[in-house]
Each structure stands twice: as structure tokens, then as C-alpha cells.
Symmetry: C2
Subunit: 441 residues, 2 copies
């Protein structure tokens, strides 16, 4: 069977560019009202009936029968066996990836995740104490999209942050376990793991049941039910961003082999029909060369059908007036993955304001970042890189402000606070400050 991958060809010089561009980019995060209601019912049921409800839904949705939730817990011994039983090449790759991801997140913690404080001239101490979360839940999808790399990317930053307990949930439809996922849990330092999934697993983590411990935050990707459940419990527990379809944007100056760029576009498109692959380039002949590479390489791809649908439905090859203009358009998109496929990437990097991850130079394929370069592959999608960040150690830490006002400091601050508190009509606040003034204290 032959598939055709025909990404839209746009040009920023075209009169209809803005319209065509908006149409290509359109993706709605609006959720389905029926799913919302179904999820609300599941959440309420698990909150009420606990383990029994989780068992019922697991039997119904995953085709997995068990007498107790305890029977669905994976022991550490089972995780270790999964790791030890892997072919050496997979075991070593997993360990090497985990080591690099750990090293990167250690550097991240050191750079941005340490407590700090200073003292004023009057001895007043001000600062913030950074501490890990006590217990977090990690949702790992099961079935056809079971990604062991996601286990590493969620669990390792939590581990590096110093989280006390990392509870993993992973659905195992009909009881089928993915040994790479179990092995990844072992390598990444998951504390406990349960073979449950869906909204019922999110509910179990958020509310706690007799068997599943209540966590402080839930991270990790999932389907529409999982996303809806996470959004619903947000506030009671912390959550990471709700992920939309994955996206890649390649900024190319024409210096990278076209085959490499074509394959990078494929590597995004193969995830899912809704995934989005976009090329921005000021060189029309190069764009033609990339399209030719797409046509030539597509038949070799086992996932050609998904790639063709994704590229034709949501992909775009955009001819720009310049690399500068390409950078501007990239900022408007705020892509999840941004490849600067140039022999002078540091010239363009300062112009790029919004992106989940920036891959510099022809050798930095997105797939290296997805698995093992070190940075996290959980990234903001659908333009949310405008206001949010890759998953990191900071997502598993929180801060407490520290204030120690000296007796002397209380004199100056007390007068300011008193004036402002009276201005807001809060006399208790004012009196509390005034009591610390020396003539009163």
C-alpha cells in the first residue's frame, strides 16, 4: 500500500498566509462534555468506595480481574527481574539514558533549586527554603503507547528532587505487562507501582484509598480520560501541564542534509495523526529537496500510514523571507520541540523566545533529546511554552519563604505595615505590627 505525505506548502509572502497559517495551527484543547461527565462520576465513585471502585473499573476498562488492589501492586523484586531479564543491549541503553537524565537534572537542581537567604543591615533575614514534595504519583500510559522513556523522564527528576515516595500507576490491559516499562521503573527509583490506569488511577492517587497512598502531585501523560481527571483534581493535588498533540518545528538554513530533516519531521509525525511537523526555511529549493526526501523515505517507514496522515493533515513546509522572519514565526507558534538546523545555530538561538526545548545544530536530532541527551522530554505543547516549562526538578520541589525580622528591623517595618494596614482597613494587622514597636514592646 502506498501512502502520500503532502504537508501544506505555505509562503509568508503569500497574501493568504495569515489565514492559511492560522488554519494549519488550529487545535482546540476543549474537552468533550461526555468524557468530562464520565470522569466526574468515576472520580466521585473512587472517592466514595476507594479500592472497590478501582477494582471494578480496572476489570471493566482493562479487562483485568483481581480480588484486591494489593494483588495489582508490582513488587520491587518483579521490577528488578524485568530489568535483569532484558537483552544486554536494551539494559545498557536504559541504564545509560537514566544516568544522563540523572546527571542533567542534578545540574538543574544545583543551578536553580537551592535554598537561599540574605540579611539586611539591621539583621533581618529574608530568603526561601526549597524542599522536596513528600509523595508523588506518576501516570504511565499502557497498551499501544507504553513508553519506558516516560518513566525515566517523570521519575528521575522526582528522585533527584528528593521526593520521599514515587508511586507509579500503569494500566496493563488484560494483564499484559511491558518489561521495558517495569525495567525503567526499577532504574529510575520508583518506590511502589500499581497496574491500574485511567481516571480511576488518578482518583486513587489524588484521594488515596485503603491501599493506594494519597500523593501530593500527579505527573505524566495519558489519554483524554486521564487528562480530564488530572484537571479535575488540580488544586487538591498538584499536576503537570495537560499535554496536547506533540509538535516539532524545524528552522532550517539549508545546510543540513535534507534526509535528516525529513526523518526528524517523520519522528514527530509517527507519534499520532494529530502530531504536527513544521519546517520553516528561507530557501525554496531546500524545501523542495526535503519534500523529495519525504517522498523517497516514506515507503521505508513501518508507520508510514500515520506519518502520511499527520504530515498531510497537520504538517507544513513554510517558505520565509529570511531566517529572522522564521524565528519570529517560531515565537508565534511557541513549539514543543524546536530544531535549529543550521551551521550557525548560536546566531539564531538568542532570537528564539518561546519553545519547550531548543535543539541546536544538525547533529541534535529531536530523538536524541527524547531518549538520552539528558534534558526532559516532557515539554509544553500547543503553544503553552509561552508560559510553561519542561518538566524538571522544580516540579517536585516547593518553596517556603523565610522571614526573621530583627528587633531593630521591626521598628522600620512596623511603621510601614501600620500605615498600609490602616489604609486597607485591617486594624488587626496594624496593631500586630505596632505592638512590636519598641515603645510598646
Amino acid at each position: 500500500m502506498t501512502f502520500v505525505a503532502a504537508p501544506a506548502r505555505l509562503s509568508t509572502s503569500s497574501a493568504t498566509f495569515e489565514q492559511d497559517f492560522a488554519q494549519r495551527l488550529h487545535w482546540s484543547a476543549d474537552t468533550d462534555a461526555a468524557i468530562e461527565q464520565r470522569v466526574a462520576d468515576i472520580l466521585a465513585d473512587v472517592r466514595q468506595r476507594g479500592d472497590a471502585a478501582v477494582l471494578d473499573y480496572t476489570a471493566r476498562f482493562d479487562g483485568l480481574q483481581a480480588a484486591t488492589i494489593a494483588a495489582l501492586e508490582l513488587t520491587q523484586a518483579e521490577l528488578k527481574v524485568a530489568y535483569d531479564s532484558l537483552p544486554a543491549v536494551q539494559r545498557n541503553a536504559l541504564a545509560a539514558a537514566a544516568a544522563r537524565v540523572r546527571q542533567y537534572h542534578e545540574a538543574q537542581k544545583k543551578a536553580n533549586g537551592e535554598s537561599w537567604s540574605y540579611r539586611d543591615a539591621d539583621g533581618t533575614l529574608l530568603g526561601q527554603k526549597v524542599t522536596p514534595l513528600d509523595r508523588v504519583g506518576i501516570y504511565v500510559p499502557g497498551g499501544k503507547a507504553a513508553y519506558p522513556s516516560s518513566v525515566l523522564m517523570n521519575a528521575i527528576p522526582a528522585h533527584v528532587a528528593g521526593v520521599g515516595e514515587i508511586i507509579m500507576v500503569v494500566p496493563t490491559p488484560k494483564g499484559e505487562k511491558n518489561p521495558l516499562v517495569l525495567a525503567a521503573a526499577y532504574v529510575a527509583g520508583v518506590t511502589r507501582a500499581f497496574t491500574i490506569g485511567g481516571a480511576q488511577a488518578v482518583a486513587a492517587l489524588a484521594y488515596g484509598t485503603a491501599t493506594v497512598p494519597k500523593v501530593d502531585k500527579i505527573t505524566g501523560p495519558g489519554n483524554a480520560y486521564v487528562a480530564s481527571a488530572k484537571k479535575h483534581v488540580f488544586g487538591l493535588v498538584g499536576i503537570d501541564m495537560i499535554a496536547g498533540p506533540s509538535e516539532i518545528l524545524v528552522l532550517a538554513d539549508g545546510s543540513t542534509p535534507p534526509d535528516w530533516v525529513a526523518m526528524d519531521l517523520f519522528s514527530q509525525a509517527e507519534h499520532d495523526e494529530l502530531a504536527q511537523s513544521i519546517l520553516l526555511c528561507p530557501d525554496a529549493a531546500y524545501i523542495d529537496a526535503v519534500q523529495a526526501a519525504i517522498d523517497r523515505l516514506l515507503p521505508e517507514m513501518p508507520r508510514a500510514e500515520i506519518i502520511a496522515k499527520s504530515l498531510t493533515g497537520r504538517g507544513a513546509l513554510i517558505h520565509t523571507r529570511s531566517m529572522e522572519e522564521a524565528c519570529e514565526i517560531s515565537n508565534r507558534i511557541a513549539p514543543e520541540h524546536l530544531e535549529v538546523s543550521s551551521n550557525d545555530p548560536h546566531r539564531w538561538e538568542p532570537l528564539l523566545k518561546h519553545a519547550g526545548a531548543i535543539f541546536l545544530g544538525a547533529y541534535t536530532s529531536e530523538s536524541l533529546g527524547d531518549y538520552c541527551a539528558g534534558p526532559n522530554h516532557v515539554l509544553p505543547t500547543s503553544g503553552t511554552a509561552r508560559f510553561s516549562s519542561p518538566l524538571g526538578v522544580y516540579d517536585f520541589q516547593k518553596r517556603s519563604s523565610l522571614i526573621e525580622v530583627s528587633a531593630q528591623g521591626a521598628q522600620a517595618l512596623g511603621q510601614i505595615a501600620s500605615v498600609l494596614a490602616h489604609g486597607e482597613g485591617l486594624q488587626g494587622h496594624a496593631r500586630a505590627a505596632e505592638m512590636r514597636l519598641q515603645q510598646e514592646g
Copy 2:
């Protein structure tokens, strides 16, 4: 009229402590379904009709008629006049508070908000670039709870982060403007301000209208409609935490004048009947002294009625076996404000894991922190300090991972990525990595 403030007296030694304690702490963040529906309708209407819808709701809910939204914009000149017209003592207090808040947040940015990177032995670069958000919206409540200090606490960290445009919205019921709020906007560096509020203002900021620019994130406190609207638009834009009632927890070793502690409990209770003030102390006689101070000081308070209702309905004076046990209970509560009212506060601080802000020593009244010590007064409530942090510069920044794999680095990483990608059935990812291997490149 005489009011009685009778906080619950609990003891950790009592057989019913756990039950009594749970009952006192209970507060549900569950939102009202009717409000949810009303808010969804307002959001949909503003999304559809833009300025016209915002004008309609502003007329209906705030009793404020205007021909255009442009007529509801406060000019910079008007903000400056408000500041210049304040009595000198208020103007100076506002400026002094702003300067201290700015200094603290500059230190915070320097400590935790800087870009970083490192290179591997093979020349591969890894790091994160930290950049400010382009445009944020700040919601400032109007009417009876109009707090100029909230303007400072939301706008200054955004300004320090380097946010390009700070858009303030503040409802002005019947057109009545609070000069301290306008002056605070001037001092804090607000870019544009509109006298609109409620769910309609949140919608205008999230979706953008012809007049109100679309923002990337919305922060600031509000009533149930505002909270529901923020939760609804979360994902399309960033939001800060949804705030519950304010809380203070005082850990006392008996060394602070009881009047000071009583007034600190009042300063929380006076906010709102649902506010929660809790004292934990191992000294029963000291608890009696604080209750006596409460009884003596209450009649002096202009907001005695609210204080009495709050303390009686939600307050507690808890006798503990030890300061260590008091610290444990504090960690279970994860309070918004935590005063360590001790002459040896640094002995207890390391035991305290979860709190929005920790106030050390008798001179550090919460009210100094609320207004002018420097740290932010927007803090996680209702136990969310278990997983979230004070508002800070980091809320107005986001991170992009930086990866530049060297030609040499691509050899080692490519092999790892290839194995893992094949393990996940993603052959495009594998091929993209393999193409960079030297024999192929």
C-alpha cells in the same frame, strides 16, 4: 455589642484529638455547580462577543455603564495622579514597601532564575534558558476587599522577571476607584489597567478582545466566580494557584508576650469568617494566657464581629506534648502562614517541611510579611503548601531546554536512542538518530 471569640481547645493527648482536629481543619474546595455553569456561560459569551459582552456584564454586575472598553482603561497619567495625591505618609509607605518587595524578588531571580548550561567532555552542550513571559494579567479585587498590597505582590515579581506587559484588571463597583490601588499600580510598574472584573475580566484576558490584549498568564486573588473562571481557562493560559481562605498557624514555646500572639491570630481572623487561626503550644498555662489576651483585646477591634466568628468557628488552641510534636502537626496542616514564636526559632525551623511562609521569632509578625518585609504575600492555602510555592519571579518566567549535540556526542547518544526507540516501536525516532552516526552521516 459584645462578641465572644472562643477557639476550640484541643489537646493532642485527648482520645478524640484526631477526630476533633480533622473536623476543625475540614474545608472543601469543591465549587458550586451553579457558579460553574454561570461562569462557563460568561466565558463563552466573552469569547464570542468580546468587548460588547464585557461591557454588558460590567454594567450588570458592577453597575458601571460605559460606551466602550477603551473608556474603562485607566491611563498612566491617572495612575500617577493617584500616587501623587496620596498623603505623604501613605505615599512613602507604599514606595518603601515596593522597594523592599522589589529587592527581595531581585534576590530571588538571581538565586533561582538564571539560565545555565554545561558541556560534556565530547563538547555536547546541555542547559536551560530562562526567559520572561511576554504579557501577563493581574486580577485585583475591588469593592470591600481592595488591597493595594496585592497589586505590589503580583506586579512586582512580574516586573522583576522582565515581563513585557503587565495588564491589571480591577472592578470598580459603581465606578468608585480606590486611590491606593491606582497608586500601587503606578509604583509597581503596571503597563495598562482596566476597570473591569469578575469572570468577564478573566475571559477578556484569556481570550483577548478588540481592546483587552490576550495574556499568557493570569494571577491574583478573586471571589468564587474569578476562581472558577481561572480554573476554566487554565491550559489556554497559565494561572496561579486557586486561593482558599487565609490561615495562620502559630507555634509558640511560651516566650512571646501573649498579647502579640493574640493579635497575630486576630490579624488572620479579621480577613474573613472562614479564615483559620491556630495556636500550637506545649504550655497549657500559656494557652490560657493567650485566651485571656483574646478576651481582653477583642473589644478594641473594629472588626471584632468577624474575628469572633472566625475564631469560634474555625480557630483552635492546641495543647501539644512538645514543640517537636507541634512541628509534626504543623507539617500535617501545611499552613499558609507559619509563625515560629520562639526565642530559639532556628531550632525548630529545620523540622518544618511544609508552609507557604515561615515567620521566625517574636518580632516577625505575619503582618510585616503581608506588607513590606519583602517576600510575597501570595501564598499557598488549604494545605497546598505540600506541593506549591509562594508567588514569585519564577511564576513569570519559563524555561526552554538547550541541547547541542556535538558530532562526536551524536555517535554515543545515537546508539542509545536507536535501541530505546526500536524498543518503543518508533522507527522514525531510531532512524533520525542512526542517520547522525558517522558511517551514515
